[in-house]
């Protein structure tokens, strides 16, 4: 498996786990009436910190294990795959942000809008990593 594909798998898994924890916890806090902006900021900060640490430590371990592959510069296929992932994710992000913009007038809580925007961002990033992984797995034909 290419080093960049391993990193994409790692980032995808870390993102799904991290936000799979954050959004239900935010929802529970909202149900209890504790969903204040400081509370959610602390929760999000904690989740992001753990996610970043896991990704950094695992990336270093993978780089050591991959040896030469980890230091190889991206070649034309890597760049094309990265570009394809970003292009599709951008479309998803735009749809998400427009959707958030459409429902924004109906919510007065700042954190609800922030969470909706964050959700759109997370979905776009997940799509990006899925496209990257699939492109490496199943091949690239332009």
């Amino acid at each position: 498996m290419v080093f960049r594909e391993k990193i994409a798998w790692l980032s995808l898994a870390a993102m799904i786990v991290a936000y799979g924890i954050y959004f239900p916890l935010a929802e529970q806090a909202a149900a209890r009436g504790e969903a204040t902006t400081p509370h959610l900021l602390v929760l999000l900060g904690g989740v992001l910190t753990v996610q970043a640490l896991v990704v950094i430590v695992a990336s270093i371990a993978m780089a050591i294990q991959s040896g030469r592959d980890a230091n190889a510069p991206a070649d034309e296929r890597d760049r094309l795959i990265a570009r394809r992932g970003a292009a599709i994710a951008y479309f998803v992000l735009m749809v998400g942000m427009v959707s958030v913009g459409c429902v924004m007038p109906f919510y007065d809580q700042g954190w609800e809008i922030i969470n909706a925007a964050l959700f759109a961002l997370v979905i776009a990033e997940i799509v990006r990593y899925v496209v990257i992984v699939l492109s490496y797995r199943r091949g690239w034909h332009g």
Binding site: V2, D69, A72, D75, E76, R77, D78, R138, G139, W140, H141, G142
Partner: protein, 73 residues
Amino acid sequence: MVKLPSGKVINQIRLLRFMADEMTQAELGDRIGLTRQTVAAIEAGKYSPTLEAAFRIAQVFGKPLDEVFQWEG
């Protein structure tokens, strides 16, 4: 809408590597600026290289492009 003819690019890279003293995928990749995995993907038909990379591959083996890559319709 125009219906494009179906087909795919095939290549003789595995055979040419064999004939070049079993050149490894990594060696070929190093000479043309691609990773070993990309060379493997090209050989397996999972990735069609750019025209520049295709010419570089042909140059390494001292063959014309159409002896390395063919269109299979």
